[in-house]
Symmetry: D2
Subunit: 333 residues, 4 copies
């Protein structure tokens, strides 16, 4: 299976490496508007850097992996559909929910796999938690808490084009809630700027708590912060009718030091590359599997729409200071 990569930035490099971990797929080309970046990545992998149009026109290429900047995702998905490629796209589909719904409409009749890059679903820890939950090991899930703290805030320049915390950062956590509990009925958002005043000046928040309520009474809470001085804090807890499940952080090493000052163990691994390295590879294998076997993709474009709709609801909730209902219209239902 021949693959071309759109985007040679940080996340593009991650995916280039992931593609190599699966012997069933082969990275054959890369493109980027920053041609130097594309060329450097091409050289590193012994492949060619080509214009986007050429790649789409090349019928020997089976799949495209979209890891370019967010504002290009929707156009590239549409172009990929037109070109008949299998498509793997990094989250989000678009910052605009209306646009995302249109893309979904177009992709609906695509007869090739179209998958969204919600990498956390493939983290072995979260996957094990979901498996245990689905197997009924703690009865019926009732209270879900998703915690996601970045180690350090991005620069304000990034914040300005990010679409805001809910669409840029919490979107992963919205997807985690949807992954584990399905779609909620209401979204109530709270948020502040506590970490970096420049983030507030850019019109965004850096600290947030969002509560989701479900039609059957279940509740979910998401906690986000742009700064956890001890590293990337990525945890999930579910309380169920017969027990609880929790994913703790993965840590740098297993050394424990005991002195008069206390018992010191290792910090969580620093950031998403360290924490989700394995998840990216498993995610890619899932996409390749869908391409080769025709099995449904493990994270669909509808999942991408759903997470975006929750982010949109959170934005409205924060702006209006009230719970916001998640309607069928918001998710194209």
């Amino acid at each position: 299976m021949k693959v071309a990569l759109f985007g040679a930035g940080r996340i593009g490099k991650v995916h280039a490496a992931s593609i190599k971990t699966d012997p069933r797929s082969e990275l054959v080309a890369v493109t980027d508007v920053v041609t130097d970046a594309a060329q450097a990545l091409a050289d590193e992998h012994g492949i060619v850097s080509r214009p986007a149009g050429d790649i789409l026109a090349d019928t020997s290429i089976d799949a495209i992996l979209i890891a370019s900047s967010t504002n290009t995702h929707a156009d590239l998905i549409e172009a990929g559909v037109k070109a008949g490629k299998a498509i793997f796209c990094e989250k989000p589909i678009d910052l605009d929910l209306e646009r995302a719904l249109k893309v979904r409409q177009i992709a609906r009749h695509h007869d090739k796999p179209m998958m969204m890059g919600f990498n956390r679903r493939f983290d072995p820890n979260f996957a094990a938690l979901k498996a245990a939950l689905d197997a009924g090991e703690i009865g019926k899930g009732e209270l879900l808490t998703v915690t996601s703290y970045d180690p350090a805030p991005p620069p304000a320049s990034y914040i300005k084009v990010s679409g805001g915390l809910y669409r840029d950062m919490m979107i992963h956590d919205f997807d985690m809630c949807a992954f584990l509990f399905g779609m909620p009925k209401t979204v109530t958002a709270h948020g502040s700027c506590l970490v970096d005043p420049a983030i507030g000046a850019a019109g965004d928040i850096d600290t947030a708590v969002v509560v989701l309520t479900y039609a059957d009474g279940r509740l979910a809470t998401i906690r986000n912060s742009r700064r956890a001085p001890y590293g990337y804090d990525q945890r999930v807890e579910v309380l169920g009718s017969q027990g609880a499940l929790a994913v703790r952080n993965e840590v740098e090493n297993s050394v424990e030091k005991s002195t008069a000052g206390g018992v010191v163990s290792s910090k969580p691994v620093y950031f998403f590359l360290e924490r989700y390295m394995r998840a990216f590879a498993i995610e890619w294998a899932g996409f390749v599997g869908s391409c080769l076997d025709g099995t449904p993709v493990p994270a669909s474009i509808q999942d991408g729409v759903n997470a975006l709709a929750l982010a949109e609801a959170a934005n409205r909730s924060l702006a209006e200071g009230r719970p916001v209902e998640v309607t069928a219209g918001m998710t194209g239902g």
Copy 2:
């Protein structure tokens, strides 16, 4: 220091035992409307069972400990003030905030210690967390999460007179938030009946998430459930600008068993008697210290009003489906 106990039920017995742990105080009498219960407790401790009026009139008695049913608290505090006794009262002051504010008004000019039984403040774990937070060990606190799950729900008959989850159960967690972060600006409540339909039939919820926002942008989340099949789940987490603090559960024992089935360690201790046994003793020592040294009580009647005001706001928020502001009027400020 001679002490009389009002109430010979479950919590009364706990306090009778606590009084004995401090050599500076002596339990001399007990009273209860269920005279048999009072007599049994009196016999067990080698003291006398007397009518409430006699106790209040007995000038040799320095302090009264109110552990009777909630609906008697306000009257007994007022009677205790009139009788010139030092007063220790179990939470809450009353289920009605207006009544509590009146009691506070009366107690304001009392020249003897008047303390509320917020036992969790005295748990060595939470106390150590607060000390570290106040010492700036994690910088400025930003995100607080208080988790409190009971092992099993009470009978519906109890629910009916309890005042509801927010005033009966979460009041401890409201106090914990006030203890660690002070009084919030808004309260947003969510809640469902998932554990026992009889609780819902009694007009109450058994599963709840409440978010508090603070004027300076800090956020706090409280999670409650009436059922945690693995035992009493009592945790607190604070994310700060320079780190995080967490209180984990105390467990039954430190044995770890590793087999092909996994690594099994001990459950959290079962319920509040096991978990807060030490806290009750430390709490009592704090009251005795205030009585003997004139130092301020570590949990005042204002703290009791504050927690009740937050519960009241939560009730309103849940009923009206919107965030509720905590006003100065609500706390008698």
Copy 3:
């Protein structure tokens, strides 16, 4: 059940407190060659300080608790037997194995309970481990490791009268091995003076590893140090044919602090008073139970002889640089 205490030193005070935790027993008298110490303890507990002879002659006293200095234990046990008292004696019976065997001979025909104070058997953690082991939860035990590090070494003056590390400190661990695995076939001892040269100058060691081999091939290892800067380190591990059991340390509190410097949790509780407080009370309840119900004592004088025999074998092994067999003669078998 009326009890008299012999010895008003540190361990005597611990036992005086333990006696009070069991309502079935009552401390009525104390004696000590340091009469001031006896009087102080008597005053604290509202009892009388009396000469040892008077106590032994007083037929209203049912039991004696021997917590005086080691060199008085054997004589007092013999006197207690003669006086027809139930006897609880702190470890060891005597520093001399021959003497201990004679005491055992005399006590053999005593018709009252005679119990040795091996407090660790009653620690809820070790007791839970033994229960799981005996229940076959990890199959058959194969490899046992007992770890016991004191937080700080005693003064050299104490070392001189202590009987040496094996008889003074490791005797508890020998008993733990006997408690869990029974009596071994050989003892091989290693030891050094690494902590305090004054201990070496006093002819003793402060760091030791002893290996016990069992007739059926099982192996046990004991690790001792007189110094663990992080607190009292008291652990046990058993590897069995179907799994493993481990007792971890009990810690000061459950607070965990995460900062850029690492994740810091609490140290083990400082020393034996903190760690074994509960064990002392449970131990005493066991003795009272034997006195009242006639059930066998949970730690017999034979257990005291056994532990001493292992210490004696360790001393010989260290001196001669070779494994030493544990013979029937050494344990009076």
Copy 4:
């Protein structure tokens, strides 16, 4: 740097994968007496399978990696030296200490890197422990314990050619002791057959405790079992004058499940491939670094001799039932 691999069995495959993780090295050929195995591995990696002699004669090949059966190691090292190759050899040099000493003599004047595959030195956990120990973070090391339990015993057929537990399995732990504490003065070995009677019938043990004493009084204990039903148990503890360091096991995932039955967390990863996957890659990078930069190899042929000498001493100690001195002659000193 072009590399040829000797041995296409289990450990050969591990090394073939490791070689690929370092872009500075390239696997170009493989050889094995089982030519089908060699061809299969060659096919998998797109390289050639060649006779050993051809590889040694090929001057374009810079380094050989010896992962063939133990009885070929010594001859291949000598052949590699003669052919002027850099040499990486799996442990042990040979089962016979005399033979190993001769190989070391020959390798002494080799001007290319010659490294032994003591993979555990490169495990990030053990490496972090050593770094902390060497940095004096716990003062001076005093008591070392190395625990190594395999998940399940090998077949008796393997046992027969293995050289016995001390040379086959504990050799890694002897190296760990030497790595952390240096070479000891005495070795005292204990061992039994508890896991599988077929192992005993083959003249070997499957459960062992060995104590090492050091000239300066430090002590080390090694615990081995061929069976830990919960997975590969690989831990190290050091007690030092100012604290302690411990490496805990790495676990399968970070999920924790709490139910009425207890709190269950994940088992240790199953065996050495899972646990030491990263270590093999880091080890190989260390060898490549030595080849390219001329820095000393991080595990030398002397280290290989030293570990073998300790295994030899353990065999003698077990046979003779006494401590055995480690002499300069044994390590070619």
